[in-house]
Symmetry: C2
Subunit: 242 residues, 2 copies
């Protein structure tokens, strides 16, 4: 098990003992190896950061106490639109792009996407939420991005923040590199990335009508997961968010 | 199995039939679903790109023929020094940083590193080479980065390209963001990333003596794999390599 930088709790959870079967209890006892009286970094999901204390341990549960401090700053005004990828790719994107601090990820039902991906266990269970929470904890943050699913591209475009700079990564249509894309500092940015088979012509028209420009990420073909990290990194750099 | 953008062969392999048990044969028959006479994108490792033709199939092997064209451009003059991470992290770095086009990756035996990682199957078998080949094929390229292992930091520093700009990512020592680091275009760049427990004080002295500056990747704590992709992306951007 990896080290968790901060252990996150829903506000309703912190008033009750934590079952020893809960993965966070396992982490506190087996990875951090805390003894009663020792502290760990804790956070309230979408709320304050602070310190937890392992007050007591019995056979069934841990008793924890908390002291809360400030809430972390808002997430970055970066929004991803992604044609829903296969579940393993979606898992990695949920975790890593969350760690990078985007405000929202919208997994779109694209025309050429594989409909069956949306009925995978990742999405049918709470697994996707855990990916987001793990990505948030990795970043030593408490704020979760908004995750949206099952919209068509037209529906997603209708919900974009007004005034956002808009760019679609598309190796076939791109007229410039993403490094030439210039949002103004503090402007929200929407980045669209294609699904495995790319966008359909009708979707490309929707992007153009919605004011998107098309950009590429260079001559080397990246995996979708890698392209997401690279694109968010470049936009954070352009917005002065490093 | 994922789609391979280009199927790579060692020069000695292309003169012989390809066993049907070879993963590339499985890919040609079961993923690309080629029939005799059909073509696929092929490359010679560290050599030319071209087209392969599935000439014939029998129970034991495939007969392939090739037409070779140009070799791809050189890899980017970006060199990574990484404290040897756990095997799963090393696998992802080998593949993804190769796809991004770095010239070399040196996995260092750092003072605080976990020595047992270097005896994992990843390194004892050819698995690490396959990670590099997969990362190269993903990029639609034939050139493999140089992979170095088991050097101490002092040994690695002695072998760096002369005239290279040098930066070490280190959240504790950093005086600026990596986005403020300014190599000149076409200058080789060496990026050092710490292992799980970071660099020891004696290693930090070695970095300073070797002309490294220390930089960070922002307030959000990234996984090592994500930090590698983000750092190479930023340096490629600064070198005009997108």
């Amino acid at each position: 098990m990896n080290h968790l930088n901060i252990i996150l709790f829903h506000p309703t959870e912190v008033e009750h003992p934590l079952s020893r079967k809960d993965l966070r209890a396992v982490h506190i006892l087996d990875v951090l190896r805390l003894q009663p009286g020792q502290i760990f970094d804790a956070g309230l999901i979408d709320g304050a950061q602070g310190k937890g204390t392992l007050a007591a341990v019995n056979e069934a549960s841990l008793t924890l106490s908390f002291v809360w401090g400030n809430s972390p700053p808002p997430l970055y005004p970066i929004h991803l639109l992604i044609g829903l990828p296969r579940p393993q790719t979606s898992r990695d994107i949920l975790r890593d792009v969350t760690t990078l601090g985007v405000a929202s990820i919208n997994f779109i039902r694209s025309e050429r996407g594989e409909a069956s991906y949306s009925s995978s266990n990742l999405w049918k269970s709470d697994e996707w939420k855990n990916c987001v929470i793990n990505g948030t904890a990795q970043a030593f943050c408490t704020r979760l991005p908004i995750i949206i699913r099952d919209q068509t591209l037209a529906e997603a475009l209708a919900g974009l923040p007004s005034g956002a700079a808009r760019v679609a990564l598309d190796n076939y249509e791109a007229s410039c590199s993403l490094t030439a894309f210039s949002p103004t500092v503090s402007q929200p940015v929407v980045i669209a990335l294609g699904s495995e088979r790319g966008w359909a012509p009708s979707e490309r028209r929707l992007f153009r009508d919605a004011g998107f420009c098309f950009a590429h990420l260079g001559p080397r073909v990246l995996r979708t997961e890698t392209a997401c990290i690279a694109a968010v990194t470049l936009i954070r750099s352009k917005l002065g968010l490093f």
